[in-house]
């Protein structure tokens, strides 16, 4: 049982919630929740305080709820509404923008226990599930029916469908198969006042009324809580083959991406790794990567004839100036190629371990028009140089979506300041090239200020109006995306 007699004071006016008597809150919640759905121990409160975004503001929740079904979610939201307590929905907390971060004194509402796949319908190529289903588990289940749910965020083995919907998650194969939003047909929701609502449809097509489904996707739990989803599926993807091409210059790699696009190819992965990252992966022992390269492309094809399409793209890479190309001819060789992409994270970890102090990685997420990639990466290298930082840039070249990652010693205040400065400069450079401040990670708390720079005043006003329309008391994940 809790010892804290009151709900904590909010950290800032922006997140201000009327304080409520903690005992009343707990009594009201527990009236319709089983004991295992309600936690107030300090371990649970700390564990649910934040997602995976470093340096994002986060508070300590008053209580963590883990409802088992939609009725319990409705009860939690109704209670919060009546008592004026803010609610922060959470999935697996793998997000990278702070959108799932607790605010002081809030109710955390984790949908992790609502993890049932309710129906797989191969005839209509759709699946109905609860929000807490892990993305990989969903894919495993539909694979048994010869189907696939394509969106593949990096955290797909841990993240949940509800979190994917809340953030509008992307991934590597989006370049061919689209993002989470493209697969959400309908949603079961609980509104901030506890009412249930259904959006969308079970049909492949439909234009009945304004598209509330798409409004909820990517809204980061600020408009409603997803308690069920109807998702479109696709036939299982054919076996893929991959190649790895290294270039003496960024321009050459950019030319290869442009040539692949211009020739009408749609690879199932088109990933770019910059000089620093290529070097780190080579240093980490990936046998196929030659050190000293300015840029590496990883290209995957899962067409009906991947060998022939891969060969065509290999020639385009060579014509663009690639000085080292390795094209897989078997699935096993393809796995080795793709391994270079998977090794980025451990390679950066190994690099970080060589730094003194408290090494940290600051992962950016900016998308620019595909044609601006070489210029953008060049600018990032210049920003790294000027700020005396190591910035590793990799990302989804086919989508123009990059993740420049600043690895630095967070215990050094001066280096911290330079890292923050570089982060701001990268964002500004991306916007100046016609880009967006977030390709797939979201706004959360990290990028609220950038959102106000990206949107025009009328759009920002309407975004705030939307928040007020759905959540007039500003209790559902307040302070994320836009201020009400």
């Amino acid at each position: 049982m809790p010892t804290d007699p009151t709900v904590s004071t909010p950290t800032s006016a922006a997140h201000a919630a009327p304080t409520a008597d903690f005992t009343v809150l707990l009594d009201r919640l527990s009236a319709r929740l089983p004991a295992d759905a309600l936690r107030t121990d300090s371990e649970a409160l700390a564990a649910h305080a934040r997602d995976a975004a470093p340096f994002s503001e986060a508070g300590i929740p008053a209580v963590v709820t883990l409802p088992h079904n939609a009725e319990q979610v409705a009860h939690i939201l109704r209670t919060a509404y009546e008592l004026g307590v803010p609610v922060v929905p959470q999935g697996a907390r793998t997000g990278l923008a702070g959108a799932a971060n607790a605010i002081d004194g809030c109710i955390v509402l984790s949908t992790a226990r609502m993890d049932q796949i309710l129906e797989i319908d191969p005839a209509n190529r759709l699946v109905r599930c609860e929000p807490g289903v892990i993305t990989k588990h969903l894919n495993d289940a539909v694979a048994a029916h010869g189907l696939t749910y394509p969106p593949d965020p990096a955290s797909w083995e841990r993240c949940t469908i509800g979190g994917n919907i809340a953030t509008g998650a992307g991934g590597i194969c989006c370049v061919k198969y689209g993002v989470t939003a493209d697969y959400v047909l309908g949603l079961d929701l609980v509104l901030p006042d506890g009412r249930r609502m259904r959006t969308g449809r079970d049909t492949a097509k439909g234009v009945a009324g304004y598209d509330l489904t798409r409004l909820i996707v990517g809204s980061e739990g600020t408009l409603a809580v997803v308690v069920g989803a109807t998702l479109a599926l696709r036939p299982a993807r054919p076996a893929a083959l991959a190649l790895l091409a290294q270039f003496p210059s960024l321009t050459a790699a950019g030319d290869a991406v442009a040539a692949i696009t211009a020739a009408g190819h749609t690879p199932s992965a088109l990933e770019l790794i910059d000089r620093a990252t290529s070097q780190a992966v080579a240093d980490h022992g990936h046998g196929l990567l030659r050190p000293g390269s300015a840029a590496t492309l990883i290209v995957e094809s899962d067409t009906a004839d991947p060998a022939s399409d891969l060969h065509a793209m290999e020639l385009l890479c060579k014509e663009a100036g690639a000085d080292h190309v390795h094209a897989a001819s078997t699935p096993e060789e393809s796995r080795q190629v793709i391994e270079a992409r998977r090794l980025v994270s451990p390679a950066l970890g190994a690099f970080a371990a060589t730094l003194g102090g408290k090494p940290t990685a600051f992962i950016e997420d900016v998308a620019v028009p595909r044609s601006e990639l070489p210029k953008f990466i060049g600018t990032i290298e210049e920003i790294a140089h000027r700020n005396r930082l190591r910035i590793f840039t990799l990302g989804h070249a086919g989508d123009g979506n990059l993740h420049p990652t600043v690895v630095f010693d967070e215990s050094d205040p001066e280096e911290f300041r330079r890292a923050e400065n570089a982060y701001d400069e990268i964002m500004a450079a991306g916007l100046a090239l016609g880009g967006t401040s977030t390709g797939e990670h979201g706004i959360g708390t990290l990028k609220r200020d950038w959102l106000t720079r990206e949107l025009d005043p009328a759009s920002l006003e309407l975004q705030r109006g939307l928040k007020r329309l759905f959540d007039p008391r500003n209790l559902l994940n307040p302070g994320k995306v836009v201020e009400a």
Copy 2:
């Protein structure tokens, strides 16, 4: 010059607009519009009174405006806002739900003259254009760059991109390539008070803020006027091959659709024609169609190896019970197959001409889960029989989206009543099967009541709130989609 001294009285309280002095309105509009952008002659007023939806309510506009650019659109909306005059945006008026129908005393705002393609960007596979560009013209222009804009509504040779966006238009190849909404990256808009706003982005991916772009797509000109669009393109489609398969029963045709889906095929067209329509097309002289068939499927494949995929689907049709299959082996033979689909409209026209009185066609648009198609078509046949009507059903079987078409003598009040009754019964049957009241034609004025039956109360309340948020004075296409 106009002789009518005042703006007409609105037809109903729902559409009530404050009357304004007509001379003042005209003076204000003409202050910043060239003479050719302002018409008040009775010919223009009549021509712009309605779209292609029969039996939908429509009024007579006070004035028709044909602005040349966004500044003129903003001037028209600002003027209307200040004087309290309703505005009805129009594209090519090929819509089938009455969404572009004038209301008495309104300003019609036609975007037909804003027909410039502003930029084709092959490197980023996108095009920027004005709303009045005809869909076919856009496709012809991008084809020169080896690209295509897939959405292909039946009216694609006449309809405009702005109208496609306003209605969320579909088409035949949506089953593989998606609908209009899937191609809209960003929009330039004018809000009801005349302010400009930009939504979306130029990048392939992006999740910055709530998705206002998707909210506008399909909103039928009730939230804002589209003055520019950034659309995604795809590589040109490979050459396609088509087959035609006829079945002794609806169930057999449904089984074929299910088998094609289950085998993982994604045809670029999967069209179904019922018994009555097959007969009408055969009677109209299409040589490949045998009379007396319960259902005809037209299947098109544009994969890398269409002959092989078509052959596999041919076998599946035969296994499902097809008693007549004709698979094309050349593009010319494919055109003959597809011609059976194109002949539906003239064949129904020829049938209508055999009716006495004033023959009319009432085109429905209902989508059901794909697996419910045979049951739905059987129900439609039963409804036709019971109401003593000829109903021709055809549609996009791969999407579960059907267009049952009642052909009847509108001059016979009793037959009219039976046609209306059949229409209502078809809609109710579609919803009962888990369907939606509109797959691709929209709500307009025709289906407002059905929308309120399809949506739950909370959703309807939010839809109305959205309308009020964007258009607090209820002046932009009032009475369409939802009542404010």
